[in-house]
Amino acid sequence: MTSYLSLTKAMLIGLSRDKSTLFFTLLFPLMFLIIFGAIFSGGGTNPSKVAQVGAVPVLDQLQAQDPDALKDVLELSTVDDEAAAIKMVEDGEVAAAVKQTGDLVQIYYSAADRTQAGIVTGVLNGIVTQTNLEKLQVAAPEVAVTTVRIDQVEDESLGSIQYLAPGLLGWAISMSGVFGAAMTLVTWRQKKTLRRIRLAPVSVGAVVGARVGNTLLLALIQLAVFIGVASLPFFGLKLTNYWWMAIPTVLIGALAFLAIGLLVGAVSKTSEGASGLANLIILPLAFSSGSFYPLDAAPQWLQTISYVSPLRYLNEAMLDVMVRGEGPLSVLPNLGILIAFGLVVGFIATRLFRWDDI
């Protein structure tokens, strides 16, 4: 027990002074959170720029009733000259120009950006139709009109951060589990630290146990940092009721990946080899298990492949309890698969364990 604790402590002190490992296990995944968060949350939500020539009563009335009505869809600027407005459309400075003469609303658009033109003409058409409908209802209140109501099925806050945070956290956990265990084993063997420990009355269990303790602690820190950063208003992660179930999930996931790391460490001779092999395992897992994008968006064949990846079960379990609002028991099958996976791989790793290069 004493030797287990002192090995754990020695490893922990070494880890806390290892800037590059801390960077790759804590900051690096956070950088991905920022980058992917920016990529997936941008695009399409920026309001389209429209130049209006002089007064356009349909738009002006709407804004008089509610100044923010058009804020999310159109960014209006007023010019006095129609020719100048058309020039702005041609130059791509605005998506469209609009002018109203009496009952005629004239829209100018450029074929250069058909998507923007489609959005703007659609929005303006809708506004005009709405205005006409209101006039007709005033003239003939007894005529029933059909209206449409649109509701999103998910929690309205389900932005990209909701699937990015659990997925990237899963990736971070798998990385630190595999790399931590593999690198400790290989560098300790290379530097003959393992041989030195072998010459002390210490069991293999204490050595592996110390690494397990370190990996679990690191996983909890990763979970805390990830939830902490993703919950900042800038990212806006909203956790659901049973998010605390992510704690055992993360610990079990970390153990499964630690087993892979022990296996990589057992078969690799040099730290370069171990690092290459670890990357070779983790990157395909990360891409096929929904760490970087929702798995539902992946092609069917990739979804099928993902069933053999342990990372899929970790990611899905964390999505379920952290953001999908599922109950704590819903992740038990996933946790069971992760435990079974860890036991099998861990068993193989102990069979291949070597104190020394011979």
Binding site: S3, T187, K191, T193, R195, R196, I197, L199, A200, P201
Partner: protein, 301 residues
């Protein structure tokens, strides 16, 4: 006196390469025993078999009355091993390193401080191992091997790659360790080191022990000539010939004259009579000559 180590006809091959080819020796309790030989002689493999790190293909090893193979946890606390190279925990300070190794043997941190003092690293206690010089790292590694007060200490080329001053400091430390009554086994490829430190030396080459004896006995047993050197230019050629006549061979390289003789008294007396002892050096046979005699080739480490 009881026997600490008993090695009988140990053999070890790696594929076609025979690393250890029938080695036998005994080391008494409290003895300083050296295994001397060039690189690739089989010293390290022999030591690793005795320490229980490798299994011998044949033969038997007894360490403190027990077999070191397979890994014998009853034996481990009674032996200390300083490994070739420096096997440390990464990014720990010298003191943290010693405390960690100590606790693996159930030894408290006080002992770590005492060991730092013994190896003269008290002022480096807070320095990370990566920042220590070669000599300091080597001393720390010896301290790690001694932190649990072992009865038998194994040192594998402890002074390799050290500067002369660091080597001398380390020799003092090794004498102290042995003086405390511990059995010390040292491998080295430095002749002078073995000569200075060891009670007995085993000379190894090509996986075999050629001879085991105290260094002085090895040298004495060798009927080797004495080399007497004085400065050139003080002795007329006629006098030189007269002094050397029948008792020595001479060689004058312009700076020094070397007399190689089996009758040093006569040559020295004659040189003194001529008052030409300027720059006098007398070199008797060394382990290097013993090695040359035993293997028929120059010693190259």
């Amino acid at each position: 006196m009881s026997v600490s180590i008993r090695v009988a006809d140990v053999r070890k091959s790696y594929g076609d390469v025979v690393a250890v080819d029938g080695v036998s020796f005994e080391v008494d309790q409290g003895e300083f025993f050296g295994i001397l030989g060039p690189n690739g002689a089989g010293k390290t493999t022999t030591l690793e078999i005795v320490e229980g790190l490798r299994e011998a293909d044949a033969g038997s090893v007894e360490l403190l009355g027990m077999s070191p193979w397979p890994r014998n946890t009853a034996l481990l606390p009674r032996m200390g091993v300083q490994l070739q190279g420096t096997a440390f925990f990464e990014r720990l300070t010298a003191r943290e390193q010693l405390v960690t190794f100590g606790s693996l043997y159930g030894v408290g941190p006080k002992k770590a401080d005492a060991m730092l003092e013994t190896v003269g690293l008290t002022d480096k206690a807070g320095t990370r191992v990566e920042k220590l010089s070669g000599g300091q790292a080597q001393r720390l590694s010896i301290a790690c091997a001694l932190v649990h007060d072992p009865e038998v200490v194994f040192l594998d080329e402890p002074t390799a790659a050290l500067d002369p001053q660091a080597r001398r400091n380390l020799w003092d430390l090794l004498r102290t360790i042995n003086g405390e009554g511990r059995t010390v086994v040292l491998t080295t490829h430095h002749m002078d080191e073995a000569e200075l430190l060891c009670d007995r030396v085993a000379i190894m080459d090509h996986g075999k022990i050629l001879k085991i004896d105290p260094p002085a006995a090895l040298v004495r047993g060798l009927d080797a000539a004495t080399h007497i050197t004085v400065d050139s230019g003080h002795l007329a050629p006629a006098d030189l010939a007269a002094i050397a006549d029948g008792v020595a061979e001479t060689e004058d390289d312009g700076a020094t004259i070397t007399f190689t003789t089996r009758d040093p008294s006569t040559v020295l007396t004659a040189l003194a009579e001529h008052r030409v002892l300027n720059g006098l050096r007398v070199r008797g046979a060394t382990l290097e000559d013993v090695f040359l005699e035993l293997t028929g080739r120059e010693y190259r480490a």
